[in-house]
Amino acid sequence: MIPLLLGLLAAGPSAGKVAVRAGRIVPVVGPEIRDGVILIEDGRITAVGREKKEGTEEERRPGEPPFLEVPWDATAIDASEQTVFPGMVEAHSFRGLDRPNENVPVTPFVTVLDAIDPVSFYFEDALRDGITTILVIPGNNCVIGGQGRVLKPYGRTAEAMTVKPEGGMKLSVSPKSGFTRLSQMAELRKTFADLREYRERVLERKRDEREEEKTKAEREGRKSEAKADADLVREDDLDARKRPLVDLVEGRMAAFVWCERAMDVAHAIEVARENGFLARTTLVLGPEAWKAADEIKACGRPVVLDADLVHLEEDALTGEEKRAFVPRVFHERGIPFALQTQASTLGSRFLWYQAAACVRNGVPREAALRAITITPAEILGLGARLGSIEPGKDANLLLLTGDPLDAQTWVDRVILEGEVVYERSKDERLRRLLEGKDAPREEKGK
């Protein structure tokens, strides 16, 4: 379905074989490769290695990437002067929605599918800046906000953009506007208590039906197949508005829980644990929530960090300003973390800048690179498909003019599932942004 739609949308040959010759490959997982080649078939990476030159008899030493032969029928993409990096992944965003939240506090049944604006400037910019996968999910101003969707910033409709329809459920333990922490938690507990009651009622009804069926069968003298309690309730028996929460508590749906402050973290873990979805929970943290890092470590769940990476705080006693660089706190404890963007400062709207800020502040480069690629991919349950340049993964590749974390590096081309979907040389909007509105226009077709 997805490749089919892509085929309709994208220009050039669809699917097929592609070979990307790269000056440098930064695969995130595994060592860097100089003068490498990436082979792609039907939108998937089939092999990563060095190109076997005809007539040479170079031997592969153990631990080195394999020598590959470029198939004769592959479309060759030359990036021999460039650095190839996996498409970046943003594990939590409510940009690209016309409005991030409902007014009603508990809306598990709504889905961002209905509110995604495919022509939003955010998606255009995300592609230009190398973000190829985004979980778009309702905002933080909710009790239970609704369901998110994993998208790529390419396509004319939300369906066409979809990478994974079940993005996860958004919850918040920090008070929604007009709520206090007391009423927020009360509302959450009540929602889950109501859900339990509802499910018991349905089960009760199904049991009655089973009994009836049994009696009827006995009367008619046939043998009835008595189902076990666990199999009794089918999806159709549930109210469609309740189904998403049932999916959540039965472990079929991921949860993203917003914790604005450190004090909220314990509540988030409690709610998730009590209702059986802790194993699929990701905590979305505000800048101050780093103080609960030890509790987060103990619960073993990953986090998505606020775009503001530095937490400044005035000491209540001395008036001195204290600074904490948040990602380092999580890195040092070995908690998987993903970075987020935000259009509030010059750099924070770029994932690469966020990772570069991590490196500048002492997070090892490898950990910083993971926080914008493989870690968010794993958080989205797409670790096997996205986030690194490895055989078997989707061919989402960025062809960069330099190192991924250098501020002077540009995304030159973006390959999405094997197709080139962005070329900087054809980015008229970018040219105008850099040269001003009086800049002479390029002639079409030149």
Partner: protein, 383 residues
Amino acid sequence: MALLVPLALGLAPADGLKGVFAGTVWTGEGSVRAKAAVLLEGSRIRGIEEGAVPREEPGFRTWPGGFVTPGLIDAHAHLGARADLAEDTLSTTPEARAMDVFEPSHRDFARAARAGVTAALLSPRDDNFVGGIAALVRTAGPAAGRVVRDEALLKASFGAVARAGEREATSQQGAVAALRRAIRRGKEEGGSRAIARAARGELAWLAHAGAPEEIFAADRFAREFGLRLHLVHAPLAGEAAARLKEGGIGVVCGPFDASTPLRSLRSPAALAGAGVPIAFCTDGPAHEPEALRLSAALAVRAGLDPERALRALTVDAAALLGAADRMGSLEPGRDADLVVWSGNPLDLGTRPLAVIVGGEIVWEEGARKPRRPGEPVAPEVRP
């Protein structure tokens, strides 16, 4: 305390109080004297007799366990006239005089006297860049002697409160420019007399300057025009102590209470340590008169030398307010304003036993005196 000699009703005022004997006398200037008598003559202090013994003679009172200090001075208050001490429509009112709203019989003064506060600076509020002229008044005693200095200080304000609302100026730079203009106009013919006097250094300025930039601006302003300046409501002044010392600027500290941050409480110690003159205030009636001793005690807890704290409540406050020749110590010739305490006044368990203003006992524990016309109402309060 029941052992105290009950005050005879109608204690011969004609003869007047001649002497006060107490276990401890802290004179304000110099050391603490044990077993001493403060000798009075009319409304003045005649001297101190060391090694005195209790005497049974008329006009001589004895508190064997008492601790005598000069009467405390509240260096910034709005007693009895809070609402009247700021003009709302104008931001520069140098000719306004706090004297004009002084109401000697107001209960605020009686309450202050009962707490051992015998004098207070009646000051315009912080709401105007130039608020007017503050007066130094006694809190009790005969009406004739209540005003000590009718033109004690010129009150100014660099605070945000003076920039609030829709009137000139709305910014700190605008406020300073307004003060500059006021000085320049004051120097011209027909300008404000008060400003002219203050510009010549005849009248010191008392400026509200809460934030560091306000202190900085006030200091620069004083240097620019060669003014005599003291600060009030400057909780962080301690952090600029060296600079203030250099400029000869004094600071009126407080009022402090249990909610005051430690950073502010440390200010008096830092100032005193750098040699900056300090005094304390209550902003009464916004705070109770007891807040004066409490402020000093909290400052002591945060590092201020207790001796300096007592001086700040008395002799140093008098000097800062330009009345060192009249009050603040028990030197011969000074006004006989003193307080007999049950112990050191910096000890919060201490309470006043008797308050003497102008040589007369204006309040005494356990005493019931018929109220005379013009005398403050001082309802009995037992600790």
